[in-house]
C-alpha cells in the first residue's frame, strides 16, 4: 500500500514535472518568437527570371533563323538538357507555337547522352558546353543549332552562347559554326548579338 502510494506520488510528480517543463518550453519559444521582428507583406517571387529570358531568346532563335528545307517537315524540335525550369517555362508559353509552318515541340533530357540523332532536333540547349563532347561526331555537320550558357561555349563548338553583359542576359554567336551546319542566322539575331561582326 505504502509503495503503491509512493509510486503514485512519484508518477504524479513526474507528470507534473514534465508538464512544467513543457509549459516552460512553450513560454520560451513564445518569448523568442515575439523578439524576432515579424516580416509581413509580399513574399519573394520565386520565378526563375533567367529561365524566362532564355525561353524567349530560344523562341526567337527558333523563329528567326533559317534551317535547310529538308528539316522543315514535322514539328520543330527543341531539346532542353539539364535545365528543367527552362523546359517548363518553354512548355508553358511556347509549346505548339508556329515556327514557320512547323509547330514547336519541346523535349527535355537529363543529360546529353540521352539524345539520339533519330530524334532530329533542330535546336539543342544545354547549360554547360562540356556536354558537347558527349554528342556523336557525326552530329557536327547536322543542321542543329546548339545553344549553351557557358564561359567556353563557342570555343567548345556551340553556335550561340548566352553571356552576362552589364547585368543583362545577352548572347554571342559563331557565324562560322552556323555556316558549317548549313544554318542561316537571321538579321535580327545577328543585330542583337554582342559580337555580330564576328
Amino acid at each position: 500500500m505504502t509503495s503503491t502510494i509512493k509510486d503514485f506520488s512519484l508518477k504524479r510528480f513526474s507528470l507534473r514535472y514534465k508538464a512544467t517543463c513543457f509549459a516552460c518550453i512553450v513560454f520560451l519559444v513564445a518569448v523568442a518568437a515575439s523578439l524576432v521582428p515579424e516580416v509581413q507583406g509580399d513574399d519573394l517571387d520565386n520565378t526563375d527570371t533567367r529561365a524566362v529570358m532564355k525561353a524567349n531568346f530560344l523562341f526567337h532563335f527558333a523563329a528567326s533563323n533559317e534551317w535547310p528545307a529538308e528539316t522543315k517537315t514535322g514539328p520543330f524540335r527543341m531539346v532542353v538538357i539539364e535545365n528543367e525550369r527552362l523546359f517548363l517555362e518553354l512548355i508553358d508559353k511556347y509549346a505548339l507555337k508556329p515556327i514557320g509552318v512547323q509547330p514547336l515541340e519541346i523535349v527535355f533530357f537529363e543529360s546529353p547522352s540521352d539524345i539520339n540523332l533519330s530524334d532530329a532536333p533542330h535546336l539543342i540547349y544545354l547549360e554547360s558546353s562540356e556536354g558537347l563532347v558527349d554528342f556523336p561526331k557525326d552530329w557536327e555537320d547536322q543542321p542543329i543549332l546548339i545553344v549553351t550558357d557557358s564561359d567556353t561555349g563557342l570555343a567548345n563548338g556551340s553556335t550561340i552562347n548566352f553571356v552576362a553583359v552589364d547585368r543583362r542576359l545577352r548572347y554571342e554567336i559563331n557565324r562560322k559554326e552556323a555556316a558549317n551546319k548549313g544554318l542561316l542566322l537571321g538579321s535580327r539575331i545577328l543585330s542583337w548579338a554582342i559580337n555580330s561582326d564576328k
Binding site: 507583406g41 509580399d42 519573394l44 520565378t47 527570371t49 529570358m53 531568346f57 547585368r167 543583362r168 542576359l169
Partner: protein
C-alpha cells in the same frame, strides 16, 4: 437742524437702498452660478447612473449659459459625457460626431485652466480618444480598398493632432511609420492579386506601395521589416514585367523589358542589403540577395549567398 436731519435720513436711505440692491444682485448672481453648478452636478449624477443621454440633455443646452460657459469643470463633464456616448453608441463609426464633439469639449476644458484633478482626467480622456483614432486607422488598413490611403492618413492625423495637443513634445514617428508600412503592405497585397492591368492600376499601386515604405523608412530608418518589404516590392514588380514576355514579344521589346527589370532589381538590392546588414543571419534576406543577384546574372554573388544559406542550414540545431 431739521434740514440737516432730513439730509442725513436721505443719505442713509440711499445707502440702505444701494446696499439692498447690491445684495440682491449678488444674491441673483449666486443663484445663477449655483443653478449652473446644479445642472452640472445633475448631469454628473445621471452619468454615474449610466444615463448618458439624459446627462447630455440636461447639460448641453446650459453650456451657452454665461455662468458655466467659462467653467472648465463643466466642459470636462460635457466632454466626458460625449466620450461615453461615443463609446456606447458610435464606437464602430470612424466618423462619429460624438467623438469629435468630445474632443472639442475636452480641449476647451483644457484651455480654461482646470483644477489639477480635472486636468489629469481631461488628459486621460483625450488620450483615450486619440488612441481610438489610431485604432480606427489601423482597422481601416485591414479592410483596405484601392485609394483609401488618404482617408486612413486623415484618421491617423487626428490621432497625431490630439496627442500633440496633450503633449507638444510627443513623438508619434513610430506609430506613423507603422501606419505607412501597413499601407505599403496593403497596396502590395492588392497589386499581387491583380490579374490584369486596367487603367494603369498596377503602376499606381506599385508607386503607392513604394512611396509608403520609403516614407516609413524616412521616419524610422533601419527598420528591418520596412527595408525587406520595400526590396520585395521592387523586385517582384520587376518579375511581374518579365512574366509578361511571351511568343509575341519582339527582340526589341525583350531588350526594353529586360532593361526595365534590371533597373528594378538593382533598386531592390540596396534595401535588401541594408536589411541583411541589420540581421545577417536571417534566411529571407539571404534568399532575397541570392535571388536578386541571380536575376542580375551575377552568378558568383548569387552562389556566395546560396553557400551562406547552406552553411546556416547545416549549423541549425
Amino acid at each position: 437742524m431739521g434740514h440737516k436731519l432730513r439730509q442725513m435720513n436721505h443719505h442713509m436711505a440711499l445707502k440702505y437702498c444701494v446696499r439692498r440692491g447690491l445684495a440682491w444682485v449678488l444674491f441673483m448672481e449666486m443663484t445663477f452660478v449655483f443653478s449652473g453648478q446644479v445642472v452640472v452636478d445633475r448631469a454628473v449624477a445621471f452619468g454615474q447612473a449610466g444615463n448618458w443621454d439624459q446627462a447630455l440633455e440636461i447639460l448641453l443646452p446650459e453650456m451657452g449659459n454665461t455662468s458655466i460657459q467659462s467653467d472648465p469643470h463643466a466642459w470636462y463633464v460635457l466632454g466626458f459625457i460625449q466620450k461615453e456616448l461615443y463609446k456606447t453608441m458610435e464606437a464602430h463609426d470612424t466618423d462619429s460626431p460624438r467623438r469629435l464633439e468630445a474632443v472639442s469639449s475636452l480641449q476647451k476644458a483644457a484651455g480654461l485652466k482646470p483644477s489639477m484633478g480635472d486636468e489629469q482626467k481631461i488628459t486621460a480622456a483625450l488620450d483615450f480618444l486619440a488612441r481610438s483614432f489610431l485604432r480606427d486607422a489601423i482597422d481601416r488598413v485591414d479592410g483596405f480598398t484601392v485609394g483609401s490611403d488618404s482617408e486612413i492618413l486623415d484618421i491617423f492625423g487626428r490621432y497625431e493632432a490630439i496627442t500633440k495637443a496633450i503633449n507638444p513634445n510627443a513623438d508619434v514617428s513610430e506609430q506613423k511609420a507603422d501606419v505607412y508600412r501597413y499601407l505599403g503592405q496593403a497596396n502590395g497585397l492588392i497589386l499581387r492579386g491583380l490579374t490584369e492591368d486596367k487603367d494603369g492600376l498596377e503602376e499606381q499601386l506599385f508607386e503607392r506601395s513604394v512611396d509608403h515604405y520609403e516614407y516609413a523608412l524616412k521616419l524610422i530608418p533601419g527598420d528591418y521589416s520596412g527595408l525587406y518589404n520595400l526590396a520585395i516590392t521592387l523586385y517582384n514588380h520587376g518579375v511581374r514585367q518579365l512574366k509578361r514576355i511571351n511568343h509575341e514579344t519582339s527582340m526589341f521589346e525583350l531588350m526594353e523589358i529586360q532593361d526595365a527589370c534590371v533597373a528594378l532589381f538593382e533598386e531592390s538590392l540596396t534595401p535588401m542589403e541594408s536589411a541583411h546588414q541589420l540581421q545577417p543571419n536571417r534566411f529571407e534576406t539571404l534568399k532575397g540577395l541570392m535571388t536578386i543577384h541571380y536575376a542580375l546574372n551575377q552568378s558568383d554573388e548569387s552562389d556566395r549567398y546560396r553557400e551562406e544559406i547552406d552553411r546556416l542550414n547545416k549549423n541549425r540545431p
